[in-house]
Symmetry: C2
Subunit: 403 residues, 2 copies
């Protein structure tokens, strides 16, 4: 019986540690491996031989780990690509040195591509080492699962902030616009999810080329009709020529105003310059949305944890490699939301971006369809039973990734 | 038996509606007044005769109101000043018209000044109308209470976001700085409270004149020692000449870089330009920190509600006018935190700004003393039992201030 390795990669989420906890706890319940070794700072630390033994972490600490945001093992932006033979050899040497048979890699589509590439390399070199992916991303842009751990909690927080700031905005009488910016460079899932709150007047997504005049006329119409306009924009919103809104107006339409900062700031300035409103408020959720432990979705924590359990359990099959586990949506007898775990080829999870469906987008920035809301609604539901410390804040584990 | 009026003013908070709920519920338990009338959009709507009858709002809706962020009656930025006789006469006429004996005004120091001015005017003109203040502010800058409703919940959210984003920041290995900006134009209470999380490396407050070179040398020292530097800055941080950091560097030290945006963006750019770190992350809490219902402090909701009860009950005394209720800190038998309500002259609450104490500030931007942490700790403690809706998000009441 050999050991297994687990590591995290890409941007942290509110529940990426729940998937880690799933792998750790699964091996305590069913010790398929002698040791569960954590790779520090993703593939980068693994290549440097930085490992941390997670085998005997007590069950109560694993419970706290499930509610700890961010990546307890640290993360990296290093992408292992096909053809980097030196890195591949080095990784295999580290795995040999520590008697590691299976590596679990928790990450986004780049990481799933790494799982695919490593599996391919192992097959080509006759190695019996195996590689299994566990997906995460707040962007929700992975194919083929119904949704991806990390997204539901980010969507929940985005909804709560949307509703809170909308109430704040509505308390005033003075004319101004409100622009909320969410993460989402290639896909607008997170921005679109804000519509669940019922508070969004206009929605700007990367899936629709931004049209300045058309947008401004819609802002004007909302201001005329109701004296207010609450706008949500995805950071990846862009013009037809591909230029991001976040790059500022001047780069794209020849206007004189150089705008630093994000897409929301650009939209606010554009509206003010057009004379539609004398001022505006910008709220950028930035990292606060992805690493919160005060708005975890219970569905999300549960699924992230279960994908960890599933990946570990399925790896008992010596043929299980180059595979990624994911969530499939099903319905209970009463039509209630249910989730099933499935496994599919890593190649199908990697290298694709699942855009927010065009037929769920209402025209003229008017938001999303009822079908989209039906998709989002069950994902944000429920609160986990958070364990609080003496200071009245949720307990978290000390990261295993000391800098 | 006449009626009473209640209105909200200034920036919304997470618990300003709990004080409103207190006044409303108190009159159901002890009907000192025939009707409880809500003034829409503060003094602005009251002057326009916009009132909303709150007398018979059901108890279960009042419970939801307690957990609804922002100002359910709307707010305004209109300040009623001494000498505005037309406004004063108009207000008295509205009160006469609606048989209003007492006005409860929930707001910050400007609003407490309004309470004082109106009481003074009534005394001078022989009117028996009375005016009572209930304080709120996320800035915590009111004299003389120990602290002010709205601040503890804002501090709790600021702490949770600090801890979550610090964990997120620490997950990476690449050299960068992190700068979190909080509200607080004149006083640094909210920024200082972030130190409770134990995650703050450097703290920049309005109470200490900003020294660019001294600050940068501390950032350099942190980067050298630990490879990271987590900075919290109050929006009101300023240079010795009074120029705000948020106005950008160029306005203050002759540097070439014009910086749009807030204090955090300025600090980040300053650090990058100085070559201390190649990049930085900025997180501006902005309005998300003051109008959240997902991180209310139980202490805060309780005290805000009780101040509403207290103001209403004390107003049974026909001599009770020009007074504001507030929270005094006491200790239980075991040294545990206790709060008592007191009432004091509105003039003492108005027109002063309570700065964060200088002797609680560590030198060289190193944070705050243990005494400061002892002050903050009990305030953020505890979570109210939030009532959730079917969609898994906290229920809120529909604002009474339709635009």
């Amino acid at each position: 019986m050999g050991n297994c390795l687990v590591a995290q990669s890409g941007g942290p989420t509110a529940v990426i540690n729940a998937s880690l906890a799933g792998v750790m706890r699964a091996n305590q319940l069913n010790p398929l491996y002698d040791r569960v070794l954590g790779g520090i700072h993703g593939i980068e630390g693994v290549l440097a031989g930085k490992l941390y033994d997670l085998t005997d972490v007590p069950a109560d600490e694993i419970e706290i780990l499930k509610q700890t945001p961010s990546s307890a093992l640290g993360t990296c932006r290093y992408k292992l690509k096909r053809g980097q033979d030196e890195d591949f050899k080095r990784l295999m040497a580290v795995m040999d040195e520590h008697d590691i048979d299976v590596m679990f890699y928790i990450g986004g589509n780049d990481s799933m591509d790494t799982v695919d590439a490593l599996s391919e390399w192992a097959a080509q070199t006759g190695s019996s080492k195996r590689f299994v992916g566990i997906p995460k991303t707040v962007d929700n842009d992975l194919v083929p699962p119904d949704h991806c751990p990390g997204f539901p909690s980010a969507a929940k927080l985005a909804n709560l902030v949307t509703h809170g700031t909308k109430l704040d905005y509505d308390a005033y009488t003075r004319p101004e616009v409100f622009v909320l910016e969410t993460m989402g460079r290639d896909a607008g899932w997170l921005a679109a999810s804000c519509c669940l709150s019922g508070d969004v007047d206009l929605l700007v997504l990367p899936e629709v080329d931004f049209d300045r005049d058309g947008f401004l006329s819609r802002v004007q119409a909302k201001m005329d009709a109701q004296g207010s306009c609450y706008i949500v924009v995805s950071e990846g919103a862009h013009y037809a020529n591909g230029g991001y809104l976040s790059a500022g107006e001047s780069a794209n339409d020849g206007f004189a105003h150089a705008v630093l900062g994000g897409a929301a700031l650009t939209l606010k300035q554009m509206i003010v310059d057009a004379g539609i409103a004398p001022r505006g408020v910008v709220q950028d959720l930035s990292r606060a949305a992805r690493s919160s432990n005060f708005a975890q979705s219970k569905v999300d924590v549960t699924e992230a944890y279960e994908l960890g359990l599933s990946a570990h359990g399925r790896s008992a099959d010596p043929a299980f490699t180059a595979q990624v586990v994911g969530v499939k949506r099903t319905s209970g007898a009463d039509g209630a939301y249910c989730a099933e775990c499935f496994a599919g080829p890593a190649s199908e999870f990697a290298n694709y971006v699942k855009a927010f469906p065009k037929d769920w987008i209402l025209k003229d920035y008017q938001g999303v369809t009822g079908e989209a809301l039906d998709y989002f609604r069950p994902l944000v539901a429920g609160e986990p039973n958070i364990i609080y410390g003496d200071a009245g804040v949720p307990l978290t584990v000390k990261p295993y990734n000391l800098r």
